[in-house]
């Protein structure tokens, strides 16, 4: 059974124009929020985001912004 937390609250934002499709966000996200579609990252299931900040921290192109908690 998949856990579900409060909807429509997370601060995750992706700037598609900065994304190079390197895919690091899909590797670090512990909840499978991202997907690479046609060479660019897309937010697939935003409500699963826990705002850990792993994607933003590892995006070398600053395409992702999220206000992280403290794990």
């Amino acid at each position: 059974m998949r856990h579900k937390y409060i909807k429509n609250v997370v601060t995750l934002q992706l700037d598609n124009s900065k994304c190079t499709g390197c895919g690091i966000c899909t590797n670090v996200c512990p909840h499978g929020v991202f997907e690479i579609i046609n060479g660019k990252a897309e937010i697939k299931v935003k409500d699963r985001c826990i705002e850990c900040g792993a994607c933003a921290k590892n995006c070398a192109f600053t395409a992702i912004i999220v206000n992280p908690g403290v794990g």
């Binding site: 856990h3 997370v10 590797n27 826990i50 705002e51 590892n58 070398a60 794990g71």
Partner: protein, 366 residues
């Protein structure tokens, strides 16, 4: 145990006494490296259980540095992990028949994910540790493998820029490492997703119980004093006995928050933890009121209401607190819940206390 930093010798570890989980030493171009066991001893398991119950929890660490598993050579992979002993044990027990290096970084005895959240499992510490160990002299390749849950604290591209080492994020769970290694450092999407299954939740409950236990004496003392204040006069024995029974539903509420909530979590309706807590709280309140006589409360509507309000508030509060132990809650969600809960919880607490006082006053008025 005193930690002696032996900079002057060619040892890569900082402790004088050989820990029980070490099985020999191997020579490398940067000095001696301890080889670690990949099987847990009884002591590891017992100490691990103690830590899960809050015993020695904040002093369960190992020395940072380089360690060896099996017979690693210059081409063997390098795994990076935290210096929390429970984390280290979970990793090494999955590495039987492997030949590799483990670089333990200093996270102050905190696990990978929590340390990453606070930045101690971080870019700076990894860069410094690579330099301190002189990892370039140990291996011919330029790859280090980090646990995926370290990513919130680590900017992989900055480590590469600072040290030349490429960072590969390995799987979340140590149990998947052998498959990850055998498949050329690739993790399936399944390996990349954190879970929060029944066992994951169950192992948290002893610690939750320990955290809540400290409120038990307080609850008892409050009821003891309340029972001393009595129109029939002070009777210590009766007050003591009544206070014990009065405390039971409250101790039950602590237990429900500590155990039932984590265990039943996905089956309790609502997404917000405080609402899940209210569901459990209302159920427990109804049960407690039904058992009113057993719990030695007088049959007063004021007391029914007071107990219902207070029991529900306690369970809702513990539930909200449990968000911090989960793997799927967002800061924004927790902030929203907390902001909405605090004024209501204050109101219900104050109202509950006023009702108890009012009932007490009424007994004096006869």
């Amino acid at each position: 145990m005193a930690i002696v930093i032996k900079e002057e010798t060619n040892k890569l570890y900082e402790e004088d006494v050989t820990p029980h989980w070490v099985e020999g030493v191997i020579e490398t171009s940067v000095g001696r490296v301890r080889r670690i066991k990949t099987k847990l001893d009884k002591k590891d398991i017992i100490d691990g259980c103690k830590v899960r119950c809050g015993i020695n929890r904040y002093n369960y660490q190992i020395s940072p540095g380089l360690y060896a598993v099996g017979n690693p050579d210059r081409n063997s992979p390098v795994l990076v992990t935290a210096n929390y002993k429970l984390t280290f044990d979970k990793l090494r027990k999955e590495l039987s028949n492997q030949n590799l290096w483990i670089m333990v970084i200093d996270t102050k005895g905190i696990n990978v994910w929590c340390a990453a959240g606070k930045g101690t499992f971080g870019t700076k510490e990894i860069v410094n540790r690579i330099k301190k160990i002189d990892l370039k002299k140990v291996v011919d390749h330029n790859t280090i493998i980090l646990p995926q849950l370290g990513a919130p604290g680590v900017a992989a591209h900055i480590i590469t820029r600072a040290t030349g080492f490429k960072v590969v994020f390995g799987p979340i769970r140590a149990v998947d490492i052998p498959e990850f290694l055998s498949k050329g450092f690739t993790a399936s999407s399944e390996m990349r997703q954190v879970k929060f299954g029944f066992i994951d939740r169950l192992v948290l409950t002893p610690m939750e119980i320990v955290i809540n236990l400290k409120y038990v004496p307080l609850i008892f003392i409050v009821f003891f004093i309340l029972n001393l204040i009595n129109p029939m006069g002070i009777n210590l024995a009766v007050a003591f006995k009544t206070a014990v029974f009065n405390s039971l539903p409250y101790v039950g509420a602590l237990f429900i928050g500590a155990v039932m909530l984590p265990v039943l979590l996905p089956y309790i309706p609502f997404r917000a933890f405080v609402l899940k807590g209210i569901v459990l709280g209302v159920i427990w309140s109804v049960i407690s009121i039904a058992l009113n006589n057993f719990f030695a409360f007088s049959n007063s509507v004021l007391l029914y209401m007071a107990n219902g309000l207070l029991l529900t508030t306690i369970i809702a509060f513990i539930s909200l607190n449990f968000t911090g132990s989960t793997t799927y809650t967002s800061l924004s969600g927790v902030a929203l819940e907390t902001k909405k809960t605090i004024p209501v919880a204050m109101g219900t607490s104050v109202l509950g206390i006023i009702l108890i006082i009012a009932e007490k006053v009424l007994t004096f008025l006869g």
